[in-house]
């Protein structure tokens, strides 16, 4: 294995890690702030991918505008789902199980709605203008679009971290994770906060789906593949932990990239292997804190 091969695989892993992080961080945000486990998070990724396809291929919009449309659409849909359905079961006895069941029903409904609207065949998106080729850096040819994704991901990680740790809205979100009742008595509209957090998280999922669309083909059922990978990420990193999700995504992305290039048929098994190893040695996730207090 020479160095250039290594760097190429590493970058491809980084691309996947970025996309995974965008989905998994939303999942972890919802769980951290709202104590809601959104099983259907991958479906919002799928909605994003299909909206991007719709915008680019049917409305002939610019790719980057389509990505924004996709993120916005997924976010609005997420807020609608939270405000109309999920909100009704907050505080019910054995809420956790019912949350999973309710969001599971979202997966089923969204899957079929997507089939109804866009059909069952695979859709593909061209790479955006100017990012179709490869960049030559020190003798290595790297796909320009992958670099763009990595850069965008980096900006979003930093932005999200700044918002969460430095702004007032971030403080409110973190406070909601700690004590919702107290936050309410301080005059903050907690239900609205929850809906907004849900909206931001699902928008990030939709954003990731739209960005990933030119790399992977878009198909119904994409949601469940993505959710399982992001769940593994979250299990590795520790549920509700922002940096844990980042580390988990990085590990999974890299493991996957190197597995694909060496044992292509069995690559996906390595994801599970990482998860099992984490579980054996650190069942609460790498960023350990049993009671997760941080976002």
């Amino acid at each position: 294995m020479d160095l250039s091969f290594f760097i190429m695989q590493f970058l491809s892993g980084l691309t996947m890690a970025t996309l995974l992080f965008l989905v998994a961080s939303g999942l972890t945000l919802i769980f951290g702030v709202g104590k809601v486990f959104n099983f259907a998070h991958g479906s919002f990724y799928m909605i994003g991918a299909y909206l991007a396809y719709q915008a680019v291929s049917v409305w002939h919009a610019n790719f980057w505008i389509s990505v924004l449309i996709a993120a916005l659409g997924a976010g609005v849909f997420g807020m609608f789902a939270e405000a109309t359905f999920l909100r009704r079961i907050y505080g019910r006895a054995e809420e956790g199980g019912f949350q999973i069941l309710l969001t599971y029903s979202f997966i089923l409904v969204i899957d079929d709605l997507v089939k109804l609207i866009w059909g069952t065949e695979y859709k593909s998106l061209p790479r955006p203008l100017g990012f179709g080729g490869a960049v030559n850096i020190g003798g290595l040819t790297i796909p320009a679009y992958n670099l763009a994704i990595i850069a965008i991901g980096l900006v979003i990680v930093i932005l999200a971290w700044l918002i969460l740790s430095r702004t007032r809205s971030g403080r409110v979100a973190r406070a909601a994770a700690l004590d919702r009742e107290m936050l309410g008595s301080l005059g903050i509209n907690v239900p609205l906060t929850m809906t907004l957090v849900f909206g931001i998280a699902t928008a990030m999922g939709g954003f990731a789906g739209a960005l990933a669309a030119p790399l992977r083909s878009v198909s119904p059922g994409a949601g469940i593949e993505v959710i399982i990978d992001s769940l593994i990420v979250v299990v590795i990193g520790g549920m509700g932990n922002f940096w844990g999700a980042w580390l988990g995504a990085l590990i999974l992305g890299e493991v996957n990239a190197f597995a694909v290039s060496t044992v292509p048929d069995w690559a996906s098994l390595f994801n599970y292997l990482v998860m099992v190893l984490t579980l054996i040695f650190k069942p609460e996730g790498l960023f350990a804190s049993r009671e997760i207090r941080k976002v």
């Binding site: 769980f31 079961i89 199980g97 409904v109 709605l113 399982i228 593994i232 069995w266 996906s268 599970y272």
Partner: protein
């Protein structure tokens, strides 16, 4: 209270044997027999699943793993060694489910709540992926066809009676289990695991026990099913199979012992009537699930019971 339980129990068994015993007599076609067989097997599967979710509060999203395991033992053994291995293969399936669930159980019970659900799902999908990709051994996406039970079991009516017997015995065992000290411990674990620890009972060990028991019945269901359909497919491992068994539990009522069985019957009959006419079956399941969770969380049996109780107390107040 005890007396009323008795009546309910006797009522269930009487109805169970009356309906399912008479089906071979009145069934107009082989198809109806297959349908009744599906209800029996799925009903048992759903009740075993409910030992985890409804009784102990562990929502497993990976019971399809053991269901598929049981089915593939039968399919592969019959295909490789011949029909005579049908019955032993069911036994091997259950045995291997016991071993595998002990191994996986040791991992997954280390975490609780949502994590448990996620991990069981991940292990189920892992099994699906292996089955799907290991074409030489499992036949991959093609599955295995032409699985016939040997000798007299090859007759559809005999096979039906065979399943009826096994399912009845299984349900009886599960019933005994719920009423046993183990069952009581499990219900306490669902309500307050810390208190169970204070009382000197081991939470994890009992959770592992019920995980193994529930999984071995899932494997039995899978093995029996391969003889009904005469074919198996990797989708038996797929997460939607786990989802379907959960839905059966939720529809019937997870707080009720017999609820999941009723739920299985309802789902299979709806599937038979509606599923054949639409390709949007999962949309329907999704909407049903949503309705149940939001409006009827106690399930059909539970809600009817609550309604009857309210009706009675209302009548009592007036009188």
């Amino acid at each position: 209270m005890k007396h009323r339980h008795r009546i309910k129990e006797v009522g269930f068994w009487a109805l169970f044997f009356l309906v399912f015993g008479l089906i071979p007599v009145f069934a107009k076609s082989e198809y109806h027999l297959v349908l009744a067989n599906h209800i029996l097997i799925w009903g048992m599967f759903a009740m075993a699943f409910n030992m985890l979710f409804g009784v102990t509060g562990m929502l497993s999203f990976g019971q399809a793993l053991y269901y598929g395991l049981g089915a593939y033992w039968v399919g592969l053994m019959v295909k490789t060694f011949g029909e005579a291995w049908f019955l032993p293969a069911i036994g091997f399936g259950v045995l291997s489910a016991v071993l595998l669930s002990m191994l996986i159980g040791l991992l997954v019970i280390r975490v609780s709540g949502v994590y448990f659900t996620v991990l069981t799902l991940a292990f189920g999908q892992l099994a699906w992926q292996i089955t799907f990709k290991w074409y030489h051994f499992t036949g991959g996406d093609d599955g295995i066809q032409g699985i016939m039970a040997p000798g007299i079991l090859g007759n559809h009516i005999v096979y039906y009676c065979f399943t009826l017997l096994l399912v009845a015995v299984s349900i009886w065992i599960l019933r005994r289990l719920v009423n046993s000290p183990l069952g009581l411990t499990l219900r306490c674990i669902r309500q307050n695991p810390d208190r169970v620890r204070f009382l000197g009972r081991r939470v994890r060990r009992n959770q592992l026990r019920i995980y193994v028991i529930s999984s071995s019945f899932a494997a039995l269901a899978g093995g029996l099913m391969s003889g009904v359909n005469n074919s198996i497919h990797p989708d038996m491992f797929y997460w939607t199979t786990s989802g379907e068994v959960i839905l059966m539990g939720v529809i019937g009522g997870i707080g009720q012992f017999f609820g999941p069985f009723i739920g299985a019957a309802v789902i299979i009959i709806i599937q038979d009537v509606v599923g054949a006419r639409t390709e949007y079956w999962s949309l329907i399941i999704g909407l049903v699930m949503m309705t149940m969770v939001l409006l009827l969380p106690r399930g059909l049996v539970g809600e009817i019971q609550a309604f009857m109780a309210r009706f009675k107390s209302g009548a009592g107040n007036r009188g």
